[in-house]
């Protein structure tokens, strides 16, 4: 994925619950597309990266260099979606929960 442009963007990440040791109690799904955000939010931040007003200002302050130590804005999840997980609770009963903010839909500079 690093051959792609280095600007802030959503990248593909598939999480397999077995890989993180959770498959013992998660019945379904076995894996899901989580995605992640990565890339630069350098000045000038393109509109496509949906910078917040604050991120724009921070980017300018950093570019101008008046305040030392200010980092560039972060590339973070913007819109996220929920994921339904079917799992066993501590008494081995089956539970279905809809967890919010489990999958990245889009990224932004913030």
């Amino acid at each position: 994925q690093w051959n792609e442009p280095r600007n802030c963007a959503r990248r593909y990440l598939k999480v397999d619950f077995a890989d993180i040791g959770w498959s013992e109690w998660i019945i379904s799904p076995k894996s899901f597309d989580a995605y992640y955000c990565s890339g630069e939010c350098q000045f000038p931040i393109p509109k496509a990266m949906k910078p917040s007003n604050h991120a724009t200002i921070q980017s300018i302050v950093r570019a101008v260099g008046v305040v030392p130590g200010i980092p560039e804005p972060c590339c973070v999840p913007d819109k996220m979606s929920s994921l339904s997980i079917l799992f066993f609770d501590e008494n081995k009963n089956v539970v279905l929960k809809v967890y919010p903010n489990m999958t990245v839909e889009s990224c932004a500079c913030r």
């Binding site: 959770w22 013992e24 724009t56 300018i60 305040v67 997980i85 089956v94 539970v95």
Partner: protein
């Protein structure tokens, strides 16, 4: 408790009228099957099925409870349910007991026809099921009745189904309020031979629809898995402890990593104190800045107002940036 029988209704996606089977469906675990079906409906982005009863809100949590394996007094079948995994943050929207009455039906096979065997369902004319819900005594507590229902299974039901359900939402609210989450469900037939305990596939089960208010909290996906899930416990500290320690760390960082005003963008000389209700607020030195800032803000406000109405996004041309760089 109410004294009215519930109308037969299958679990979501269950066989409807006209789809009766001559034999028991080969379900290994009815509650797992039911939960899996609900999961598919939630996952598919389809409108999840409404929980039974008048409860239309669906919430973000469904829990399925199997009965604990237990003996029972003769002639009165008792199923014990451990509902203690229900958390305080889970607001119960609906709770139902699902039970199988297929054994109350007789199947008569007729193999006289040349085309092969056909089957006919015959119902006993009047069957009355008494379903009662009790708290199960824990240390120092006595059993008490939460409610009971008399359910009539009569020939009036033309489309009788093997699985039925009974809404016990109010009973469960009471049990949860009193923290009596070990409950027993007793089933017996009035005026008939004793209710026989079914094999595990056909035992009653409880479904609880709830809205978990804590699900949006940080690490909720981890906190719901704490307890017996050792692999996780090895990797991550328990959420409560983790939360406490992270708060402590933040406090320490706030006090230890004091930056100079130029580094931290705070007003020089300003000291901040935290008020529970007011949030962060400045002490006197900060307040002395307020009139000046307010005046400046007022004078610039008019200029900005017209521009802000056009767009809510800040825009910068190259000239402005050059000026800023020169400064």
């Amino acid at each position: 408790g109410a004294v009215r029988g519930s109308r037969a209704r299958p679990p979501a996606g269950e066989d409807g009228p006209g789809q009766r089977r001559p034999e028991r469906p080969a379900a290994a675990d009815r509650v797992a099957e039911h939960m899996l079906r609900l999961y598919e409906q939630y996952r598919g982005g389809r409108d999840p099925p409404a929980p039974p009863g008048p409860w239309l809100r669906r919430g973000n949590t469904v829990r399925g409870f199997r009965p604990l394996p237990a003996g029972s007094p003769k002639g009165q079948e008792m199923y014990i349910f451990n509902l203690t995994s229900l958390t305080e943050s889970e607001n119960v929207l609906s709770a139902s007991v699902y039970y199988y009455i297929g054994d109350l039906l007789h199947v008569k096979w007729n193999c006289s026809q040349p085309s092969g065997c056909s089957h006919h369902w015959h119902r006993k004319p009047e069957i009355q099921i008494r379903l009662s819900v009790w708290t199960f005594p824990s240390a120092g507590n006595l059993t008490r009745s939460l409610g009971h229902f008399l359910i009539n299974v009569s020939s009036a039901y033309q489309d009788i189904l093997s699985w039925q359900w009974k809404d016990i939402t109010q009973l469960l609210h009471e049990a949860k309020q009193n923290n009596e989450l070990l409950i027993s469900v007793k089933m017996d037939l009035t005026g008939h031979p004793p209710w026989e305990r079914a094999s595990s596939s056909y035992e009653p089960y409880i479904l609880i629809y709830a809205n978990d208010s804590a699900i949006s909290e940080p690490e909720s996906v981890v906190s719901t898995l704490r307890g017996h899930h050792h692999p996780l416990a090895r990797v991550l500290p328990k959420p409560e402890g983790h939360r406490r320690s992270s708060v402590d760390n933040r406090r320490r960082k706030r006090s230890a990593n004091v930056l100079l005003p130029l580094q931290n963008n705070e007003l020089p000389g300003a000291k901040y104190q935290y008020g529970e209700e007011q949030g962060w607020e400045g002490t006197k030195p900060y307040k002395t800045f307020q009139p000046q800032l307010a005046d400046r803000a007022r004078s610039k406000k008019k200029q900005r107002k017209s521009h802000l109405q056009k767009t809510q996004t800040l825009q910068f041309d190259e000239q402005t940036l050059k000026k800023a760089r020169r400064k």
